[in-house]
Amino acid sequence: MNNFLLSALIFLPLAGSVMVLLLPSTYRDSFRWISIIVSVINLLNIISLYNNFDKHVSNYQFVEQHEWIRMSLGNLGVLSIDYLLGVDGINMPMLLLSGIVLLIGSISSFTIEYRQKAYHSLYLLLSGSIIGCFVSLDFFLFFLFFEFMLLPMYFLIGIWGGERREYAAIKFFIYTLVGSILILIVMIGLSMSVKDSFFSQETGRTVHTFDFRQLADFKNYIAHSILHPFEKQMIFGISARLFAFILLIVGFGIKLPSVPFHTWLPDAHVEAPTPISVVLAGILLKVGAYGFIRIAYGFFPDIAFQFTYIVAGAGVISIIYGAFNALAQEDLKKMIAYSSISHMGFVLLGLASLTVEGVNGAIYQMFGHGLVSAMLFLVAGVIYDRTHNRLIENFRGLSSAMPYFTLAVAVAFFGALGLPTLPGFMGEFFTIMGGFQSEILPNWVSMIAMLGIVLSAAYFLWTLQKMFFGTFWANRNQEENMKDLDFREIVMLYSLSALSIIFGIFPSLIFDISGESVKAFLNGF
């Protein structure tokens, strides 16, 4: 079945990007509207996909497949790269999240005044490649979009960022590039070890494929190939598949980010402009988690099983380490950045548990954290826009001056710290439940993770108390700047609040979608 809806999701922003680039600068006020219109159309398109998504099957839907590159490798057969898109229960929630967050990001970009043409062109380019990354079902195509996200991100942080933007941008670039090179090595290895069963029979030659569906199937591995699951090939004295899996978890661990590969994130977040922080925390981190599920766990289930302790350990350490760091921060944005590291740790924990609850919880946590972290960075942006200052200690009693703002902040903070009916709770609850139910993981691992919830309650509530309660005061006599939200900010924060509450009360909106696919995914273990 071929349809064009997923392609439209990718190419509409790319077309918008080119359009912005080609329009003369005299239309500079219309650029932001192009961004918004493109994002709205994409979101509507995604919602229609979501409605038409068949919840009762686990296989890929809306599949689009076109032959792209066929290279003959001489005696080795043919290298086949397809333009292959599709969604299942694992990437559908991510797609929905991207649609929402990219729209919020484009609304938030309204305040960008400096070189709008370049900004919106890059923003749309970024949007297209993010969506492309989530819907690709061909490893080559996935990698392409994965790499291609770096470039617009580098410029968006580097040009429109804060004081140390150049340092943060290059650090982000190099960290992620190292990660993606590790992934590239595995990609080459996998494609050399797997043949497309159908085309190989048809053409009589070995067709090396990058197709996700083929890579996940052990039957397609070529005998005596290096990554063959049942022949124990060795690299440097360790199993080849183990080696490949380690490369993948480091590669995606950088993107996720998981301790100890997280050090780029606080810099990038603090220096990035608000909309880019929103996109970075809301979606880009999820690309790493998605890669973990789809690629590292999907293609190497045998190794992932052995690695439960290490992945869960990395998750728990991220949770605790991120939380303690967040507790110590004086800068609001930095605090939120570390809280992101902490919350993404739950995704790893849920995934490592390899239970239905845990993996569903991980996907839900990704979705929920996407909404909440977008809100959190918008909150930081609101304060920064008014005062050019983000230090927590510089503000007190904001609730009396900015009541509407305080309400949104309360939803965001409580959503993040895991109050029931808000998304943070469901994600953390299910991942930890998965951890307890897991036959492999000992119970104390999940208990430590629960400590993370307590810590996150501590730093969020303390921040809330310090900044919003008490008598109204802002440092350097900036009291008169502290105006309440304007219309644009209300739209962004309140729509996200509403979505958080809806998805918090009805988590089945996500679980129904992901359920069947997760079951099928866990059958591989």
Binding site: L73, I159, F173, L177, V178, L184
Partner: protein, 492 residues
């Protein structure tokens, strides 16, 4: 006797287009000797450029025409008593060299370099030498063609006489002469071992195999010394940055691709008939080239010097396909060279266009140029990520193919060394991003010193750069055509 004469006659007929170069060389020398200085020097330059470009293309049309006589190419034809070996792969490399020379001549004209007439004569001789190098399988012929290329390069490097220029020229000459001497010594050792000067063939392979491996390794390493010098691979690389910095950019652009392509072809031929395991030495050369090239480039503040170090690193990457020692390895090397042709020519053209504005090759002088001219800023981003090897540029496809070949070779041979080279090479691309990105970084991120002053570059200059950019992107999107062409070449 008559047979020999007939052979020479026949060979000359097949090689007619090559001999045409000799005629052109003589004609230009004569024309310069007898012509007085023209007043409108510019028309003179234009005249020369058109003449040479037309001739090179003409010569090539000849080749294409001859290509119909498949008996010369399909199986490869041996000419001039085994001195010349003509096959489809040499034809392909001649095509690469021709494109490079035409592009460089247009570069000279577009940017407006003032050159003397002798330049064209020397240039023709240089191209001729390279053409001969692509179709030789004989050590002596190889040495002669290599010297022909070297001597012409020595002259070209010092063409516009300056102090830096002569220093670089002397360095180039000394290093070149030394490596030639080493090469000659290696060749004599190999001749002593095998008793044949032909390095492709049963005789060479069999006799070489009868000698102790380590002696053969040393001899081969010495014999390819002169080639590695042209390739600017470690340990024969140290001339590169100085020469690149001091030499006029079009000539550097030419040196960064055409001699390398010819040398790689010779290496492909040599390695396909080596009967010993030469991979260890190759691996060391590759890793050393990539590392030294990349790490030295990190500290450079001059763009041309930086690109000089970058070509050292790229020389390492070009050899990766040969390390793989399989057919796909050779094919991906050829693919890589073809793509590098467009990338490197584009890179040098770009910095020359920028230098037109700034009159300097310092990184610092690039401040804000991307803001003042968005087209050049975009071009810089595309070219530099192509040099790193990121998608969506053809640099990525080239590296992907190379490392796929290496992986395949590793999978069949199980030699861990290959995997080390693979990981090492790939991680090095992450390091290289740091200096390549500096050029767009200075152009786009840094504010210009005195406000933003928009400027335009001429239509022809823009169009010329666009052609390269088009190929860099297009070959990524649709590599099949080029790959099929390379596959159809008969590899030795």
């Amino acid at each position: 006797m008559l047979e020999k004469l007939l052979n020479i006659l026949f060979s000359s007929r097949v090689l007619l287009p090559d001999l045409l170069f000799g005629v052109v060389f003589l004609v230009i020398v004569a024309a310069i000797a007898f012509s007085q200085k023209l007043d409108a020097e510019r028309t003179y330059v234009l005249f020369n450029v058109l003449l040479i470009s037309v001739l090179i293309s003409l010569g090539f049309v000849f080749y294409a025409f001859l290509g119909f006589y498949t008996q010369y190419y399909e199986s490869g034809s041996v000419l001039f008593g085994k001195l010349i070996y003509l096959d489809s792969i040499s034809l392909f490399f001649k095509l690469i060299i021709s494109i490079a020379s035409v592009a460089v001549l247009i570069h000279v004209w577009v940017v407006g370099y003032k050159v003397v007439g002798e330049f064209y004569a020397i240039f023709v001789a240089l191209v001729w030498g390279l053409f001969i190098m692509t179709m030789t399988t004989n050590w002596l012929m190889l040495y002669v063609s290599l010297e022909m290329v070297s001597i012409c390069s020595y002259i070209l490097v010092v063409f516009n006489k300056g102090k830096d220029n002569s220093e670089a020229g002397i360095k180039y000459l000394l290093f070149g002469a030394t490596s030639s001497a080493i090469m000659l010594y290696g060749i004599s050792l190999l001749y002593g071992m095998t008793g044949t000067l032909n390095f492709v063939g049963q005789e060479f392979t069999i006799f070489l195999g009868q000698n102790p491996t380590w002696i053969v390794q040393i001899a081969v390493f010495m014999a390819i010394g002169g080639l590695l010098f042209k390739l600017s691979a470690v340990p024969f690389h140290s001339w590169t940055p100085d020469v690149y910095e001091a030499t006029p950019t079009p000539i550097v652009a030419f040196l960064s691709i055409a001699p390398k392509a010819a040398v790689i072809l010779v290496l492909i031929r040599l390695f396909s008939s080596l009967s010993i395991d030469f991979r260890m030495i190759m691996a060391i050369i590759i890793m050393a080239s990539i590392t030294i090239g990349n790490f030295s480039a990190l500290w450079q503040t001059n763009t041309k010097r930086m690109l000089g170090y970058s070509t050292i690193a790229h020389a390492g990457f070009m050899l990766v396909g040969l390390l793989a020692t399989n057919t796909i390895g050779i094919q991906s090397t050829i693919f890589y060279i073809t793509t590098y042709l467009f990338i490197t020519l584009a890179a040098f053209l770009l910095i020359d266009l920028l230098a037109l504005k700034t009159e300097s090759y310092e990184l610092e002088s690039l401040r804000g140029l991307g803001q003042e001219n968005i087209f050049l800023g975009l071009a810089a981003v595309i070219i530099m990520i192509a040099l790193v090897g990121l998608p969506p540029t053809v640099g990525f496809t080239g590296k992907l193919l190379l490392f796929t070949a290496l992986w395949e070779s590793y999978q069949t041979s199980g030699s861990n060394m290959l995997l080390v080279v693979l990981i090492f090479g790939l991680l090095n691309t992450a390091i290289s991003i740091f200096y390549y990105i500096k050029i767009p970084y200075f152009m786009i991120f840094k504010e210009p010193k005195i406000g933003v002053r928009y400027f335009q570059i001429g239509f022809i200059r823009k169009g010329f750069l666009l052609i390269f950019l088009f190929f860099i992107i297009y070959l990524f999107m649709r590599p099949s055509g080029l790959i099929n062409l390379i596959e159809s070449l008969k590899l030795a």
